[in-house]
Amino acid sequence: MSKFKKIIGGLSLALFMAGTAHAETLDLEALNALVNSNAEQDSYIFGTLLFLIGGFLVMWMAAGFAMLEAGLVRSKNVSMQCLKNISLYAVAGIMFWLIGYSIAYEITEGAKFANFASLGPRVFGDAADNSGGYSAASDWFFQMVFCATTASIVSGTLAERIKFWPFLIFTALLTGFIYPVVTSWEWGTGWLDALGFSDFAGSSLVHSTGGWAALVGAIILGARKGKYENGRVNPMPGSSMPLATLGVFILWLGWFGFNGASQLAMGTIKDVTEVSKIFVNTNLAACAGVVVAIFYTQIRYKKIDLTMALNGALAGLVAITAEPLTPTVVQSLLVGGAGSLLAMLTVPLLDKFKIDDVVGAIPVHLVAGIFGTLVVAYTNADVTFKAQLTGVVAIGVFTVVASAIGWLLLKFTVGIRVSAEDEEMGLDHAEVGVAAYPEFTT
């Protein structure tokens, strides 16, 4: 098939369709039908396009997590972190196709779990799947990259000490079961949705879920050797601040797809206007997150902590994600700024409990995610605090229990932690074939 013929074919089809009304000797009813079908078509195309653009932007966040984490782990674990990030994205894609999507969306309204009979791999028909007002495949793609995001969150926290394969098995569990179940409750129209819980783009569904899974993993896995010694916290600075910075910029960019395309439609003036407002609120919440972080660390430590500024941006983004549409700009700034502050206050707290979170995913995704979800009650009049709290607690309890079972099963079967020797030597030598910067002499 040539690149040219195709186009010409498409065009003549359009002309033919346009011609329909004419052939029927310009019947008003036929023209009316044509106008309506054209409108529907445009709406379908716009909605699908939004999913595709949003989808590739969120897919790009996988690279953001990879760079952020590669920058924040020590050189001896950088190759491993790269490997984990590309592998988890691959596993998430396959698991979400195999079973995840059906768990998330084959659910009766208000229910707690998907209909068993409908579980299974997702099939995409050849004919246009018109029923939803958008292409089913575009929707699947958009949902899938969200699922992968959840898994990315976990990999950062557990870096530098978890074995590769158990981590990947947990990823399969998370992306094939835990995340889909949580999602089914809300976006699948399950019981949380029925309750009035609201989580626009996933502060809880994506970020807290990932954060809880990471927290439970961090507790069961234990801290890195030497991290908490003789009663003091031993910072283990990562290998590359510019890579970490790049990662955050990538995530920030991807977040426009994450929040913006969660509008789920772009075919009306109202929808596209709301997408625009979401862009503005999302962007400014992140801006506030940065500003709060640099002020806070300047005042608190007399220096400006770059890694906190980076995490501040992310915390601002996570916080606004539960409701990026209804807040005013001022509210968005406050939400983003407060999310950032909370994340910064959580970092030393985790250290106090000797919970070793290598990249700060728990403060950023879990804490700011919970805050962002709860605060919706104050920025969206249709939402109650009770519903939000219920959602936060339910998601927390379920994810903690399910993750704990997963982690513990892995721990007592294959084991999840590398040997002390391997940890000291670095995972790149132990499990991956190659150091991140393997050259010695040139």
């Binding site: 000291e424 030597m425 030598h429 991956v432 074939g433 190659v434 150091a435 393997p438 010695f440």
Partner: protein, 112 residues
């Protein structure tokens, strides 16, 4: 004055430094190094080809001390750098004839 060169495992640096501080050593210089010895290297994998990296990361510690500190220093390094596993490293001792502190021009042991 004696010069002590100690080749140690990188993650032991902090411990060794603290042990040396305890016995009153106030200056030292360290250099990143790669060591070849009995400790066997890693088999690495790059684009489907395996290869052995014989040279392992080490830290080389250099300190110049007054003669009378020699024993204490050797002992201190030996204790703090040891893990009991192969590859712990070596200590070499040689003589330094003169030492100068650039800032003040002081020479000899008072320059250390």
């Amino acid at each position: 004055m004696k010069k002590i060169e100690a080749i140690i495992k990188p993650f032991k640096l902090d411990e060794v430094k603290e042990a040396l501080q305890e016995i009153g050593i106030t200056g030292m210089t360290v250099v990143e190094a790669k060591g070849f010895g009995r400790q066997k290297g890693h088999t690495e994998l790059y684009r489907g080809a395996e290869y052995v990296v014989d040279f392992l990361p080490k830290i080389k510690l250099e300190l110049v001390i007054a003669d009378e500190l020699l024993e204490a220093t050797l002992e201190s390094i030996q204790k703090s750098a040891g893990t009991g596993k192969i590859g712990d490293g070596k200590i070499f001792v040689s003589t330094i004839e003169q030492a100068i502190r650039i800032r003040t021009g002081e020479t000899g042991e008072s320059a250390l």
